[in-house]
């Protein structure tokens, strides 16, 4: 008994103050790749080496549209090895409210040898159907109002139910760490609960397998409204390296609607916290 107390006292407080103070991160840590869009000359090598198809391009009418999709990226850094215009940063907090917000692309004029040159349109988030969003402006505003009301409800304390819908358990290793004394997620009033009926948020990992599809839907249905869903990891955001196949449905949003996407393979505890706090409205979204 005294031994236990003595050990705790001599250890002291190990909890971080994230996000108020940002922790020191190893310069070797691999985070999101950054492309020097203006000087990018050829998207082909990076596209070929990317194991998940996060970097891709399309050629049409003498133009090339090349893009990077963070929802698929596993931060392996292979693209930076073959392309000088790509740099691997150590930024891991990339969570976004919309999957399209994780896709950035630019257009170039295509050269006969297959490389590209002059940038025609600068890097931009690749939102699909921008015109329809404009037409539905009032609906969008209404959505925002509901969102901010929900943020108020969730902004104080939050109960999370975690569901592994098919992950490799890499994301679970990091989610478990949120309960460690170093990250101590309970200091935000956030608590992992055993039942979806007690939960405000569903934290879902994995490409949703066909075998977990029904269980995920039922878990979601068992939650009381209002509820949040956070998709975790490259697989949760997009299906990752598995994509869609005979045994998987793809990302979490192919089965239930998702409020926040947390890229990474696996996202580290800071990235997870960032995503959860973003969903709660305790971190303002970038866009």
């Amino acid at each position: 008994m005294f031994g236990i107390l003595g050990k705790s006292l001599s250890t002291g407080v190990v909890t971080e103050n994230y996000p108020a103070t940002l922790p020191e991160i190893s310069s070797r840590a691999r985070g999101k790749p950054e492309i020097d869009w203006a000087n990018w000359r050829d998207a082909r090598p990076a596209t070929a080496i990317c194991p998940t198809g996060a970097i891709s391009f399309q050629d049409a009418n003498g133009q090339r549209t090349a893009q990077i999709n963070l929802s698929k990226c596993i931060f392996c850094g292979l693209c930076a090895e073959v392309d000088k215009a790509i740099r691997i940063t150590n930024i891991r907090e990339c969570a976004a409210r919309r999957r399209e917000d994780l896709v950035t692309g630019a257009s170039y004029s295509l050269k006969p040898d297959g490389s590209h040159e002059k940038m025609i349109s600068p890097p931009a988030i690749q939102r699909s159907g921008d015109s329809t969003i404009q037409n539905n402006e009032p609906l969008e505003t209404l959505g925002q109002q509901i969102k901010s009301r929900a943020d108020k409800i969730f902004g104080r304390s939050l109960h999370i139910r975690q569901v592994d819908a098919g992950s490799c358990n890499g994301c679970e290793v990091e989610i478990v760490n949120l309960n460690s004394p170093v990250y101590d997620i309970e200091r935000f009033g956030i608590h992992f609960v055993a039942s979806p009926r007690h939960a405000d948020m569903l934290l879902v990992t994995g490409p949703v397998t066909r075998n977990m599809e029904l269980a995920l839907k039922k878990t979601y249905d068992a939650m009381p409204d209002p509820r949040l869903v956070v998709a975790v990891g490259a697989c949760g955001c997009s299906g990752g390296i598995f994509g869609q196949n005979y045994a998987t449905c793809g990302g979490v949003d192919s089965v239930i609607s998702v409020d926040v996407y947390v890229p990474g393979c696996p996202p580290n505890p800071h990235a997870l916290l960032h995503g959860i706090l973003l969903a709660m409205g305790r971190i303002p979204p970038k866009h």
């Binding site: 705790s8 994301c171 290793v173 478990v176 460690s180 397998t209 598995f242 196949n245 005979y246």
Partner: protein, 531 residues
């Protein structure tokens, strides 16, 4: 290729005894012998190897070779631990008569693997005591995903009908407790059906494969350079071990050897993976018997290891480090210093935590004699890794089949006979200390030089077995290559697949509230099993 001298007596003996029934013998590598024969030889050959040469059947799988040889092939991989080599028996299964004889009655250890072959290849099992579906759930349509004529991207219609057909357990006062697939904690999905009379568990039925992701099929569809990243996603907590086993198979198929420094760095990373998982498990076992303080200390140490992992390899789970032909990143002087520092700091910290656990009689009381796996049962089920060693099964690939740089050090393998939760934890405690010592030895002997050699294009139709002792137990990757630097088959054998069925044995007679701690003491990977 010259055969490993230790393997010669066994090979000569087998030739003498069965020569007229062998179709061919191939010796692609010193410790990997292929014998081609007919199906009717399997039972006798297996029995002889088991009794005469103390072999173990470590992997059983199929390969759809109808295109090249007009038949399916079944492979039986035997490990001869004392000799340090593998004998791989290959038998054809005719495409027009897709069935094979079960070995499960003689060797219960292969039950799930045989059923998996039946599910994924549509080869009917003859004589299996429980020939029901295993890898595919009962509500799946009649499809055989690992056959070549099945497309990976097939979109199956919504599943109808009952998901699982359970065996009935009846009797006065018997009731059932279904648990999962979504569990109460932050763990992977699986379904457990407890049949209980009063408090003690009479019978536990496991239904896994909820996280079946078509991984083995996907290997056949990806270019080889992408497959390493897929291997990292077989079981996240064993990312490096799986990726290294895969690279080992690739290197053996290409007849390339990783440079010495790369082998040392691989070994160091394998030990780091062992460290963070073992430390986390020790803490989690304590949590499951309500001694949370110990877990908090363990999680603190685990975090320390994960951060060093990140400073060494760029990823906390060591992802992105493995590559065929060596490793991707070298360690500089500063990184090596941080690694020595980690060991120096962790050693006393770890000892003090073990002291706290050992000083808590209420914790030990819950762990001792709980979830006992008897050595005889463990042997019958071929239980491997930490769970096997806690039940008297004295095997460790690091010592018996030295891979990476394990031939450069002496690996002490702890073995206990008790087989309870306490001793599965004790194995981890001993292995953590051994890992500290191994990392120091590797650092002391770390050679200079390259960390990666070019592997080049793989020869077509080559087969190779890669293996690694991961923290959980032995991992095997068997590959057959296809033209154009692709794979025709990649069989992944995670130790979890071998160990899961025995959980039903270990829990019998225990009470349901002890199930979490018993399960945690095995800590098997669902994803590694389901793939």
């Amino acid at each position: 290729m010259n055969v490993l001298p230790e393997m010669l007596p066994a090979l000569d003996d087998l030739k003498k005894r069965f020569a007229d029934r062998f179709d061919a013998v191939h010796l692609p590598r010193a410790n990997e012998i292929y014998i081609h024969a007919k199906m009717d030889l399997v039972a006798g050959f297996t029995a002889y190897l088991y009794h005469r040469w103390q072999a173990r059947l470590v992997s059983l799988f199929a390969d759809d070779a109808r295109e090249s040889s007009g038949a399916f092939h079944l492979y039986y991989v035997f490990a001869l631990d004392a000799a340090g080599g593998f004998i791989i028996l290959r038998v054809p299964v005719a495409a027009d008569k897709p069935e094979f004889a079960s070995l499960t009655n003689a060797i219960p250890a292969v039950s799930w693997q045989e059923r998996e072959v039946q599910d994924l290849f549509g080869l009917k099992l003859i004589g299996h005591p429980n020939p029901h579906r295993c890898a595919l759930h009962d509500d799946w349509p009649e499809v055989f995903p690992l056959r070549k004529d099945f497309d990976l991207r097939t979109k199956l219609p919504p599943f109808q009908g009952e998901r699982h057909k359970f065996r009935t357990v009846e009797g006065e006062g018997v009731f059932h407790v279904p648990v999962g697939p979504v569990h109460a904690g932050i763990i992977e999905p699986g379904h457990f059906l407890f049949s209980v009379a009063g408090e003690p568990v009479l019978y536990l039925q496991l239904r896994l494969f909820y996280t079946h992701k078509g991984t083995e099929k996907l290997f056949e569809n990806l270019p080889v350079q992408h497959c390493v990243r897929l291997a990292e996603s077989i079981s996240g907590d064993s990312s490096f071990a799986h990726a290294t086993a895969f690279c080992h198979a690739i290197e053996r198929a290409a007849n390339v050897e990783a440079p010495p420094r790369a082998k040392f760095l691989r070994s160091i990373c394998l030990e780091l993976e062992r460290l963070y998982n073992h430390i986390a498990d020790i803490g989690a076992i304590c949590t499951d018997v309500a001694f949370v303080t110990a877990n908090m200390h363990c999680m603190r140490l685990k975090e320390r290891v994960l951060r060093v992992n990140e400073s060494l390899t760029g990823n906390r789970l060591l992802r992105g480090m493995a590559c065929p032909g060596g490793v991707r990143f070298d360690f500089d002087a500063e990184q090596i210093k941080s690694l020595s520092q980690l060991v120096a700091e962790l050693r006393p910290e770890f000892d003090s935590i073990v002291q706290i656990i050992d000083g808590s009689s209420s914790t030990l009381d819950r762990l001792e004699t709980t979830g006992v796996l008897k050595p005889q049962v463990a042997r019958d089920f071929g239980v491997v890794g930490i769970a096997g060693r806690a039940s008297g099964f004295d095997h460790d690939l690091r010592r018996d089949f030295p891979h990476a740089a394990y031939d450069q050090v002496k690996v002490c393998v702890p073995v206990y006979q008790a087989g309870d939760v306490k001793h599965r934890m004790q194995i981890r405690i001993d292995e953590v200390r051994e890992s500290f010592s191994l990392i120091e030895q590797f650092l002391a002997k770390l050679p200079d030089g390259e960390v990666r050699v070019e592997v080049g294009e793989l020869p077509a139709d080559a087969t190779a077995l890669g293996y690694v002792e991961g923290w959980r137990g032995e991992i095997f990757h068997w590959i057959r290559t296809a033209p154009g630097n692709r794979l025709a088959r990649c069989k992944v054998k995670d130790p979890s697949l071998q160990n899961w069925p025995v959980l039903s044995e270990a829990i019998q007679g225990n009470i349901i509230p002890d199930f979490p701690v018993v399960n945690k003491s095995f800590n098997l990977s669902y994803s590694g099993t389901d793939r």
